[in-house]
């Protein structure tokens, strides 16, 4: 049996994998969480491996997969400062289970390690260099998933040089450029606020705005809150929608500027990343429910027709990877069925390393 934990600012989500069954759950980290958790998982003695997702490993955690022992736990603690809302919870959980179930194999899966090998000119900000030395750089994120996406389509690229762009369509949309298993670009920056606008985040904006808001009386905490949860596509709509609803014009969203802006930004970023790569062989979109996003992906592909992207008329998704482009399309476009736990499981059992 394998247990995986993923933390976010409000709760911990977990997944129990036995044979090929995936059981998911969520829990709040209040005083009684251990008791309620034991009730749901039951047989602790059967747990062979426990994995914890570390969303931000700074420059300390160099490998996507590493083992945690009471000794190396310190490293995890050091990372808490980078993304405290996430990392502190991860640390607390890991700390608890290492002591509770010392016989199991404890693993740390780090979402930023992949991007430590980005070229220096891609990670440095054009600010005074002393800040770079203090660790101000682009760390990226979602690396486990982007690397997985690349590996899914890698065998399908027949050229010697394999350049690909992977796009995650979901609440924190982000994009990555990979060349021969090496990262070239990632839209997430020092924090997840940078990059492509999403449902409740504005993406990269003029920093002057931050200063203006601050001087008009908003506290830094309020601005932080504003950029993390209260901006984004939803500001254009009368009520809160999910990304799926926005891109499918559901629920009577009429003139859908939000969808247009979202699409525009994705096309724009794809162009920028093709430029960084000097050309591209394949683009892979991945999302939890490909059927909901398919029309939207076709819309994006249409805008890339000038680069020789030729789409099939209709695609029915049956496997993890489905191709959306016709034979002879200069750039191949794929849509991947994404399930976080299944992807993580591949790292745990070593099939992606």
């Amino acid at each position: 049996m394998i247990l995986i934990f993923d933390s976010n600012p409000t709760q911990i989500s977990w997944c129990k994998i036995t044979n090929k069954n995936f059981l998911e759950g969520k829990c709040q980290l209040d005083e009684r969480w251990t008791a309620s958790f034991e009730k749901r998982i039951k047989d602790y003695d059967k747990i062979k491996k426990i994995a914890y997702i570390l969303h931000h490993g700074g420059e300390y955690v160099k490998k996507p997969v590493s083992y945690l022992t009471p000794r190396t736990l310190d490293r995890l603690k050091k990372c808490a400062k980078f993304l405290p809302e996430y990392n502190e919870l991860t640390y607390r959980i890991a700390n608890y289970f290492i002591k509770k179930i010392p016989t199991a194999l404890h693993m740390m899966l780090c979402d930023t390690s992949f991007f430590l090998s980005l070229p220096e000119e891609a990670v440095t900000y054009a600010v005074p260099y002393k800040l770079r030395k203090k660790g101000v750089r682009k760390y990226g994120g979602f690396g486990l998933s982007h690397y997985w996406a690349y590996r899914q389509i890698e065998p399908l690229i027949k050229t010697h040089n394999k350049r690909a762009i992977s796009v995650y369509l979901g609440n924190n949309t982000n994009m990555c450029a990979v060349e021969n298993r090496n990262p070239v670009e990632i839209s997430i920056g020092f924090t997840p606020a940078e990059g492509i606008p999403s449902v409740s985040t504005p993406g990269t904006i003029d920093p002057t705005i931050i200063f203006k808001l601050h001087s008009s009386g908003m506290s830094l905490k309020e601005i932080n809150e504003l950029l993390s949860h209260k901006s984004g596509l939803n500001t254009l709509l009368n009520k809160k929608y999910t990304l799926k609803e926005i891109i499918n014009n559901r629920d009577g969203i009429k003139k859908n500027a939000a969808r247009e802006i979202y699409c525009y930004n994705i096309v724009k970023y794809i162009g920028g990343y093709i430029s960084s790569l000097g050309g591209v062989e394949a683009i892979a979109f991945f999302c939890e429910s490909p059927d909901d996003y398919k029309n939207f992906i076709f819309k994006i592909c249409k805008k890339l027709a000038f680069l020789g992207v030729k789409c099939k008329a209709n695609v029915i998704q049956k496997q993890t990877v489905s191709e959306l482009t016709k034979r002879g399309s200069k750039i191949k476009v794929y849509c991947l069925q994404y399930n976080k736990w299944k992807v993580l499981n591949q790292y745990i059992n070593g099939s992606l390393n």
Partner: protein
């Protein structure tokens, strides 16, 4: 432009306010296709503290004159220049000015009257370095040439055509409305001149061209995407701080970084803003110079790793923006480089155009190296689907032409 002759010739005096310079040109117009410069000049190092003193250059048909005079402000510079013109007995019919940021108040050039002045004053905080000095020059011109009609043109006006998808900042509606947050964009006069000039040079109407133009200046730099002669996206934003990496400005950064630095390192907001504006960009990365020429000179020295890094970052960001705009335009016909760095730095052009064949742009390296700085030059190879140009900009000429357009409208 059509060759319409005027009965009488016109003189238009044009002022162009830089952050530490003030240039002027006097155009003599005998017809719509007959515009000549009859005098020009520039006040250098206005308000700059340093060992070298400020000076004003004049170029008239009588010859070149260089006066070394202390000039603390743009107002002083304008006073000296205007009196110089007055003493030469040159008949000035109109005076045109460049205003960097017209905000939501101005979408095109306009004659100056009381109401215009009131609205210009409202724009001052939008570009605290450029706008106040431009306004002081307007007032000075009014004082010295009270009878001359004046008009003002805007760098942000060219981008008033941006579509909603490009100009929107996705922040709550009440905040966006309160502060008028949107992408304004700058260097509009330059883009207007360059796009029109290229269309004329190619003999293809603007309506049939998709262009990406890179305005790479020694101070600010930006890129624009032009579809059918109309600006559809540009790299600068609400302020001129974002977009490309510039001499001392940071360009795009993670917006959360500003908050992080204030919280973690106790930066005071104004000190941090100042640092992002004046100590970042090429200067911040290289650690020794904001001048790309210095950086190019030193970047192959092993000990100057940061120089190489600064250059690579500059090129990488620019390439990325070109890619962005190629994608949203659905392919381009023209890629152009203008202003100081754009025209004079062949290495920047060479590196930017490397591996750009995916969008059909192929540079002729030999031609690129031999570019003359004073005229438009085609530098793409014969096989290139995209025309690549190096072209000096002429903001003053566009300011002059905008004046003629205003006159025409009045008739």
């Amino acid at each position: 432009m059509k060759n319409i002759k005027f009965k009488k010739s016109l003189n238009i005096l044009v002022f162009n306010c830089g952050s530490s310079s003030l240039s002027f040109k006097i155009f003599t117009i005998k017809g719509l296709g007959d515009i000549k410069v009859c005098g020009e000049g520039k006040a250098h190092r206005v308000g700059v503290k340093g060992t070298e003193s400020s000076f004003i250059e004049y170029k008239f048909k009588e010859g070149i004159q260089k006066d070394i005079v202390p000039v603390q402000t743009h107002r002083e510079a304008a006073t000296i220049i205007l009196n110089h013109i007055k003493n030469k007995n040159i008949n000035v019919n109109f005076a045109g000015h460049r205003f960097v940021h017209g905000g939501k108040y101005f979408k095109k050039a306009i004659f100056i009257n009381k109401d215009t002045l009131r609205r210009l004053r409202l724009c001052l905080p939008l570009a605290p370095i450029h706008n106040p000095s431009a306004l002081s020059v307007i007032y000075t011109s009014k004082r010295i040439f009270p009878k001359v009609r004046q008009y003002v043109t805007f760098d942000s006006a060219f981008h008033s055509t941006l579509p909603q998808v490009a100009y929107t900042y996705l922040l709550p509606k009440n905040i966006v409305q309160k502060f008028n947050y949107r992408k304004y964009g700058f260097h509009g006069l330059s883009y207007q001149y360059v796009s029109e000039k290229i269309s004329e040079h190619m003999d293809v109407p603007l309506k049939k061209l998709n262009m990406v133009i890179c305005h790479l200046g020694t101070g600010g730099s930006s890129v624009v995407a032009i579809k059918c002669g109309v600006s559809v996206d540009t790299s600068m934003g609400y302020s001129p701080l974002t977009g490309l990496i510039m001499s001392t400005r940071c360009g795009d950064i993670d917006p959360m970084l500003a908050i992080y630095l204030m919280v973690t390192y106790d930066y005071r907001p104004d000190a941090l803003m100042d640092s992002l504006e004046k100590k970042s960009g090429l200067l911040g990365i290289s650690g020794f110079s904001s001048d790309i020429r210095d950086i190019v000179k030193q970047m192959n020295i092993k000990e100057k790793k940061q120089a190489k890094l600064a250059f690579d970052m500059y090129v990488r960001r620019l390439k990325q923006y070109i890619g962005n705009y190629v994608a949203i335009l659905g392919g381009i016909d023209v890629l152009a480089f203008t202003d100081d760095i754009g025209v004079k730095n062949s290495l920047v052009r060479e590196k930017v155009c490397e591996n750009m064949s995916w969008c059909g742009a192929l540079l002729d390296k030999h031609r690129n190296k031999k570019v003359k700085f004073d005229k438009i030059e085609k530098i793409n190879s014969a096989k290139s689907a995209v025309r690549i140009f190096s072209i000096p900009t002429d903001e003053e000429k566009i300011i002059c032409q905008e004046g003629l357009r205003l006159l025409n409208m009045r008739k």
